[in-house]
Symmetry: C2
Subunit: 348 residues, 2 copies
């Protein structure tokens, strides 16, 4: 697949959304505090399209001040001059950049057991969007930004019968598996369903215990992968999306790969390759990013397992390397990331 | 330019918006009655993306029951399998299809002299969108659907010093020039400006006496035409957009053409070629559509000067012929239009 994509023109799409699930203390590090996670996805895509955030000062950071992976994505897209299109799956705060509206709403806390209202409509509209985009691009790279997304991935995977406990990653070095499992189990209980009950009903799975990103991203994949290769750019959140695609349109999966970072694939607290293999036979590709020699502590932290993935940074890095036929190496990319880090975050 | 585009892959974009100006009795025939014109643009793009309307029953029609030109656009895009992306510039009713949101609002009646609130922001966002789209497509075709748009075109052209009185077309066979001129003059008066006062300030021109489609479409052109050819697909409304582009970024105009229908170019009640020539040296191309032999009265009416253009039907027809290297002729296209007419409108 990678050979086939070298030198070709991709479109990078980033699906953004929010879920109240991210407000549960300890679930998400995609924001300085849980309440501010509503701002993280719009701020991330503003960074991609404007080179700076508009809806918040500075850039999104973890509670420890480690900057958003959008910094990596932005650097990769800029270096390789890759077209970008933002897709909203359901937001509280709208970004100050153009975005595709699918009619979705912010997700409720999954512990209500009724996370989404119009998942099917959103998935259908996303499919139309994916179909149309696939007519002009060589391939599609689809990232995501939704705080709390690995917890909603876990609950959807459980609802669909995938043994995902202890296998989803976290943006924190200490993966809070117990909290995630407790939250997911409460969600299934509130929805009145048993694990595996929605194995063949992905719309019900995401509607009860999912998040808005999932049907939107799944719809884009289904619409586009009929015509062109699609890289699902993300970590273990993509396992839930893959489960949805697999239960709806498994025929498109020949044209699909998961593209992520080395930090996710090497994550000892999770198991992306095992998880994906349980769902479908699609390759898991990892961008070989290496920040160990960076002069910036906020980037070095990625090597210690902070953040790891998000905003499609692995897939974007990969496609920058591919589009440039290898001229953009991981060192070239790191230099660009450091330049942007210096300008946007500061000197340390 | 046409040689250059033959066999290439376009993206068809349709910019939709509404203005209260369309509610002035006698101004617009883009709806069964003035109040329903808010539904015409979303219904038009639903037709393009779904093959049927969702926000209204049937399809948009003139007060005499003549169907929307979206029927032509839809037929052309379908026959040639052309990618389509809807862009909202400011709507009251949202379509049930994916659309790019630019943060724009519906336009006020231009007789208030303060038509738009955030034209500059919308134009900037559209520019970002156009830039990104132009990185993956061979060329861009940009149509519009905004009832009342020739009147707001007239007022913007006057504000920018273009002698446009009696030169804009109408969707009605009897072009209501007097009413349009009276409305435009009232608009300029309310804004406290003289004709030509905003010749070098297109943002002020559209903000005071324009409509939301104008800055959105101009931004798309400016962003895209730096990289790829752009066909501005519409009638005399495009003159106003061209004036905005010309006053903002004239350097991109080498890559721009106006694409319309024979009905507009042959319109004895207007003068598109004269109007465009007054603004800038860009070609005016006309799709050679001919409905005189149609068995359907609602299509034959186009030959009598009803509707004439809209939803980029001229540019879409042209790009369908180009993409198919001439395999899609005007007869092939008419047959497809008639089939869709029969299915969507009925037998007569």
């Amino acid at each position: 697949m990678l050979d086939q994509l070298a030198g070709k023109k991709p479109l990078f799409t980033c699906v953004i959304g929010v879920t109240e699930t991210a407000k549960i203390p300890g679930i998400s590090a995609a924001g300085e505090n849980p309440e501010i996670t509503d701002y993280t996805p719009p701020a991330d895509v503003e960074l991609l399209q404007l080179g700076k955030c508009k809806c918040i000062p500075g850039v999104p950071v973890t509670p420890d001040g480690i900057p958003t992976p959008a910094l990596i994505t932005m650097s990769a897209l800029k270096l390789a001059d890759i077209a970008t299109l933002v897709v909203s799956a359901g937001l509280k705060i709208k970004p100050y950049v153009p975005f595709v509206e699918l009619g979705g709403c912010p997700g409720r806390d999954i512990r209500t057991g009724r996370a989404l209202d119009n998942a099917e409509e959103v998935m259908n509209r996303a499919r139309i969007g994916g179909e149309n985009l696939s007519k002009t691009v060589d391939y599609l790279v689809i990232g995501e930004s939704i705080p709390g997304g690995t917890t909603t991935a876990l609950s959807v995977l459980l609802a669909m019968g995938v043994d995902a406990k202890g296998k989803v990653s976290s943006s924190m070095p200490l993966n809070p598996h117990e909290l995630k499992i407790k939250t997911a189990e409460e969600a299934l209980k509130a929805a009145g369903i048993k694990a595996g009950e929605f194995a063949h009903d992905p719309i019900k799975a995401v509607s009860t215990v999912g998040d808005p990103m999932q049907p939107a991203l799944a719809g884009l994949v289904i619409g586009a992968a009929k015509n062109v290769p699609v890289i699902m750019a993300g970590g273990t959140q993509m396992a839930a999306v893959l489960a949805v695609v697999n239960a709806s349109n498994p025929d498109v999966l020949d044209n699909v790969a998961v593209g992520t970072t080395r930090w996710i694939v090497d994550d000892k607290t999770a198991d992306i390759t095992g998880l994906i293999a349980e769902i479908a036979d699609v390759p898991v590709l990892a961008a070989d990013l290496d920040f160990s020699d960076s002069t910036f502590d906020g980037l070095k932290a990625y090597e210690a397992g902070v953040v790891k993935e998000g905003v499609g940074c692995g897939g974007a890095s990969m496609s920058a390397m591919l589009k440039s036929n290898g001229k953009i190496t991981k060192d070239v990319l790191l230099k660009e990331i450091e330049n942007n880090y210096k300008q946007l975050v500061g000197s340390t």
